[in-house]
């Protein structure tokens, strides 16, 4: 899931890129990001769909002179995730009060099979992080972006992105140690 290769591939084509090519190239990474940044499968679906739709609708406005298409996309994705996370925090608070948190989306048979106890702990801890930390980790380890791309998506320098990712990892580790 190398973004550099992806950008090179796409920029090697005559712009504007087609929506289909764009989706085929980026939808898997956006979906992986969304699954890690969201607190529920349904929210992940919404983030992924909204971000991709947002990008596709503006694809003709993308200007390669101003930067790589990947960086452009991930800024959109990060913004959509941020907006969703804000709304999601309000909903989550309500659901918690009502004790009715329920996920209706089908769970994959594969995900059940793989060290599900540890993975569930890790996922629960990840979802317990602040939205910004989740976004950082999802961009870095879900979408597999390098620190430069993470920084571009969130409007910060490479070094600042690196520090922010490390802090988010520390928080995640602390969360795991507090909730073994």
């Amino acid at each position: 899931m190398s973004t550099a290769a992806t950008d090179a591939d796409l920029l090697g084509q005559t712009l504007p890129v087609t929506a289909e090519r764009f989706c085929e190239q980026y939808a898997p990474a956006v979906c992986r990001f969304a699954a890690m940044a969201a607190r529920s499968p349904s929210e992940a679906e919404d983030i992924a769909q909204e971000a991709m739709l947002h990008a596709v609708r503006r694809l003709n406005k993308f200007d390669p002179i101003r930067g790589e298409i990947g960086a452009w996309l991930w800024r959109i994705v990060a913004n959509v995730a941020r907006d969703h996370q804000r709304a999601e925090r309000r909903r989550f608070a309500l659901w918690t009060r009502l004790s009715r948190v329920r996920e209706a989306t089908a769970e994959s048979i594969e995900s059940i099979a793989i060290d599900h106890i540890d993975n569930q702990r890790l996922l629960a801890s990840l979802r317990g992080l602040e939205p910004r930390d989740r976004t950082l980790l999802a961009l870095r380890f879900g979408a597999d972006l390098d620190l430069r791309a993470v920084g571009q998506a969130l409007g910060m320098s490479d070094a600042a992105a690196g520090r922010a990712v490390l802090r988010a990892l520390d928080k995640l580790r602390s969360h795991l140690e507090v909730n073994p």
Binding site: A19, P28, E110, L126
Partner: protein
Amino acid sequence: MIRPTDNLEELLRELPLDEPRPDAITARVLAEARRSAIEPSELGGRPQWLAVAAAALIGLLVVAGLMSTRLAGRGVPAHPRTTPTPGTEVDYGAPPAGVALIYVSDPNHPGWYNAFDWTGQPRGTIKLATPLDDHLYLLQAPDGSGFMTSEAKATPQQLFDRLGAPLADGFSESDPSLRQVWADDGKHLCTLDLNSGSWRVGFRNPGAAPTELHSVAIDPSVVQSGIIALAFSSCTPSRDRAVLVYNYFGRPSQFWVVRLSDGAILSHQTFDAKVLGDIVASPDSTLIAESSAASSGSLLGGAAPSTAIIRASDGGADLSLDPSFGVIAFGQDDSVVLVNTSPLASGVPTRLALISLQTGSVIWRSNGRDELTAALVQPGGGAFALFLQDVHDSTLHPSVRVLIVRADGTSVAVPGTYQQP
């Protein structure tokens, strides 16, 4: 157990997640973009972009030989539910035994399902004691002699007899990894589950424990994605065969022909990710259709030059079709195949054809305005029941009309409009 010294970065990279399906997201995004009146030129001047949605929906296709074939994924929630106009609201009474039936959901009575025979005549109504949750689907046995709910997280699959009465199930409720489908005979359920990291296949009667479970030596790497992508394409206990297919957007497609009685893999094929759009087996597990990626609208190059139908026994070619044809399902008598002649896409009319497997000629063709949402294969025959919906209806249970298309090219419409069960 996760320890403080563990490499969290790697754990996060490998963390299995319930990821949205990229193919479904792509289909909905492109369909929605089209609805928003974006001109093709804005999408790169390539009007074929619509075809992408198809590639996606092909991935959602749950062909299962004689099982209900569901094509539509979760809809784009921007469109209101259309008002169903049922042909009748009467209770047709208990459905007859020994008659193959097609079930639709009564839009005015939650939990009621009306049965029609393969001539299109109403033959009965079943009433579930408790209507299913909206996110569940009722999957009928090929002949309508039993029912099963679709898979859903935290909800064990429920089984019902032919009259809609719940069946006790001492197997699935205890195993969350279990996946089960109707066998081609409509009497058995074929099961696929994971046991200590290995896949096992088996079959059983509804409500009974599996006769035997046998490990299948499928490469564990196909299960590391956290994505639902390995499934039965056919299961035929009478021939001791099943065909398992792994098909996921952007990843290599694979199929395995498996012997049910011991789990032995009789053949295994892997295709580069861009070659095929879908793989579908015939209900009797004797034929396998390798649909070219061109049939799903892929423009990336590398698509197979034709849609091939091969023999499962030796991999030999049986028929070659135009690469724009994507096989949706085989008739149970292996005389015909139902194909899409334009890519399948949510929100786009579906073009269909019935092709003779003997001659390769087109027996029936439809360039209608509706979207195919599901299909049933006639037990013992060559007909298909097509569930057609309005292209703008993106609800979980869209309003559908049912068209029965026979192997001789004639068709009959079931009167009325219902809901996808």
